[in-house]
């Protein structure tokens, strides 16, 4: 029996998927969670074989949940999403997510992926892989991304410079190069674009 934890903030989809998965003979849904925080708590308590996590959830998103749990319990993680934003597959794979598929897939396919992942395999839906492969490449250097990442909460140039051990002038240079590359006027806009594209 594969013990599955299901987390999705959309109650209709969660309960329908849980009911459909319970119809499979070898799958038992042991927990249904409405958000990321609850999913983490319940997973730590139950240690399910597989966690099926929605990507878009309040609290912590599916990839965050997987990243936090993968260090503490031996569960395997499957992330489902309605719309895979660029860069999210890369983030998911490096967070130890073993399965990634769109929500449009039927419950029978989800069950197959759960089985495959529980057996130690990995499954990436072709549609999501195709999206990831046709992403626009990030035009920024790692250092420029550091500057955006450290300054994403509106930190001052001075604070960024101290955190990264750089001269304030160097930080300003990086920022102006970033603004030029992304074609935006402010650092905040650059941060928004980088977050949206999953670069930081």
């Amino acid at each position: 029996m594969i013990r599955v934890l299901l987390a999705d903030d959309e109650a209709m989809i969660r309960s329908a998927l849980a009911a459909l998965l319970r119809l499979e003979e070898d799958i038992d849904v042991v927990a249904e969670c409405a958000d990321g925080t609850e999913a983490i708590a319940r997973a730590l308590e139950l240690e399910p074989d597989v966690c099926v996590l929605d990507l878009e959830m309040p609290g912590a998103d599916g990839v965050d949940v997987a990243a936090q749990l993968s260090r503490r319990i031996a569960s395997r993680f499957v992330v489902v999403t309605r719309h895979a934003r660029p860069g999210v597959l890369r983030r998911a794979l490096s967070s130890g997510v073993a399965g990634f598929l769109p929500k449009s897939r039927g419950a029978d396919e989800v069950a197959q992926v759960v089985r495959k992942v529980a057996a130690g395999g990995r499954y990436v839906d072709p549609e999501i892989a195709a999206d990831a492969l046709t992403d626009v490449r990030c035009p920024l250097t790692p250092r420029e991304l550091d500057v955006l990442r450290v300054g994403r909460r509106g930190e001052t140039t001075g604070q960024i410079a101290r955190t990264l051990s750089l001269a304030p002038g160097t930080v300003r240079n990086h920022v102006s190069v970033v603004l030029g590359k992304l074609g935006v006027e402010t650092r905040q806009q650059a941060v928004l674009i980088a977050e949206e594209k999953g670069w930081i």
Binding site: A98, S104, G121, P126, D135
Partner: protein, 392 residues
Amino acid sequence: MSSRAHARGRGSFELARGIWATWWYTVSAVLLFELFFVTAWAGAWGTSEGEFDVDPLALAVGALWFGGTAWVLLAYRRREDQGPLLPRRDIPGLLVCAAAAVAMPALTGSWLAGAAFLLQPVVILNWPRGVRLRVVIAVTAALVAIAVIERAQTPVELHSPVWAIGMIFSIALPTASVTSLWWWDVLLAFDRARGVESRLAATQERLRVATDVHDLQGHHLQVIALQLELAEKLMGRDPDAALEQIRAARVSVAEATQGTRELATRFRTVSLADEIANARDLLQAAGISATAEAPDDVDAAPADVLGPVIRETTTNVLRHGGGRRARLALESGVDGWRYEIVNDRAGGQDGTDGSGLEGIARRVAEAGGSLDVRREPHEFAVVVRVPEEGER
């Protein structure tokens, strides 16, 4: 770089920068005209002998006036259609001009000079559209009248060509300045229209996509509703037929989803170089040590054939868990392009790894190429050869 498309207004900003050159051209034309005007009047004094003799004091006052008009003129660049006639920042410039205008008749002996010095800065104020034309006509008429009266009152022996030059400049200056500024306004209007036009095109495109989505979803939802209704009615009488309708409804849902996805991604294009680099990043993120090689002229390769091949083969490697390393290579040879992807098949043979390879083979064959699959105990390789674009 499509990320630039996110930066709204960037295009207009860059064009505006180009337009500033025209602004400076316009301003310098007006200022040059004013310079001639000032020197004409500064030289007009004491010309009873007909000599061009510059009066330093008049020239100094003229220079002050020149600065004052330049102040007002430069503020014109930031004018707004709905802005006040006399913005506060114009006032110092205007005061300087007025003082110079008061001093001018005393220095030059000509009321026309005073009037022209006073009225020139007035015409370049922020007059509303249409009003400026009337102001200029009135100002020019007044200046002509003053010139005629002044000439009539001046004894004939004091008529000099230099005074005549001053007179002509005085009368022509407001019209010349306003014409230049009108030209600038027209250019600015064109620039704005261009910005509006591109925003309009974007809006129309969004509307078109919205309509397409609506049509597509509407059609499928209608079909699904009918199929479900039929299933509901059949449920009691003929459960098998009802089941058939429910399955058909699921197929319709899948079609609608697929169609929506195609709408959303139809404008998405990415270069082969980016696609290969993305593939390497993804495989590395999945803990596979991946390398990718592509020649510099990779974008000359047939992306319509190789793009799907790269996507499909990379997905195959990703789906097949447990691999340690992978290598992607795209190279061009005498007989076309050769793409190869090799990975170690640590996961063993479960027979499902060839999924999608049939599709690739068909696509490659249509392009006149070939596909070879090499299966070895510790290695799995897919090699695709595609002829050059022109030879297909």
